[in-house]
Amino acid sequence: MKRSAKMSELRWNPLLGEWLATATHRQDRTFLPPAGFCPLCPTAPGGFPTEIPEATYDIVVFENRFPSLSPNPPEPAIASSDLYPVRPAQGECEVIVYTPDHNSTLANEPVNQIYKLVQVWTDRYRELSKLEFVKYVFIFENKGEAIGVTLNHPHGQIYAYPFVPPRVETELEQSRLYQQKTGRCLLCDLAAEEKRDGRRMVAENDSFVAYIPFFARYPYETHIAAKRHAQDLTQFSEREQKDLALILKQILVAFDKLFNVSFPYMMVLHQKPSDGGDYDFYHFHIEFYPPMRSATKLKYLAGSETGAGMFINDTLAEEKAAELRGHIKAFA
């Protein structure tokens, strides 16, 4: 086996039927740097050279210095076999810096800045989807040290995978089967049912609904779904983009008010794949997975969740939605 300073490859898991990436160079990535040495801050005149040489910026996107996937990946360091297929870790990993303000969060940014972010997300989805080797564009944010972030400066990430990732594949298959059975969109029906029931609803505007789903795995797991049947960000009108920014702001601020802390979460955007297939049965939505289950306790993924894939939620979605709903404010 070749040894390399940058070992990165995709290895097939025949037990689960899914790819995983090895990216050994990420062991050396910047970890919670001291104040004044944040690589996502603008470079100050005469100061520490960050990733961003401009003295200020609005929103910046750049290629991750420590990517799991890259457009020109090294050859795998280990030979592929029938039992253990291996392939180059081709793809793209981008960082999206939301603001020059190191101490801000997306929740603290004005709605207009979130609206800008929605426009940037849309542009990145459109551009990365054009790459021949990209089959799925995954936009996400890990926020908070409880999630394991290595940089606290407000930012998100994009992984452009060379395959459709397994969790999305499962959603696609369930949506496909539901449409075959009923002729309807599964996400449209879920959103409609949550709105009809009302107990798990958190917020709503002309274009989007937010709710803690009936089947939430985390106490404050919140989903934002488009009211109109659309598969990806590029299909939204400007009005819908603004409405998405508004409902995001409402949810993020409500999260922070739950326990008066900067609420940690994973935020993921689920859109249709970029492989040229027909996914009219699928439906754009955003999912939040916050790990806090109380002011002092975290939800850990333990034996049942990790080893069996069955989540145990210690709370009721109906009660948690009522809590969160109590902190929803209107924003202009």
């Binding site: 800045q113 426009q119 209107a330």
Partner: protein, 49 residues
């Protein structure tokens, strides 16, 4: 419904090589970006809710 970009201005982007000459960086700017960045969450929040 009226659709306009008056809240942010038109989006522009500028793509450059990073200092390592290997990676790219894209600066996204908006025509009225500076104004919107100075607004605070508190200023936006409606007082009647």
């Amino acid at each position: 419904m009226k659709d306009d970009k008056s809240d942010t201005g038109e989006m522009h982007k500028r793509r450059e090589k990073m200092a390592d000459e290997r990676r790219y960086i894209i600066y996204y700017t908006f025509e009225t970006g500076e104004k919107s960045r100075t607004e605070t969450a508190d200023e936006e929040e409606r007082k009647d809710v």
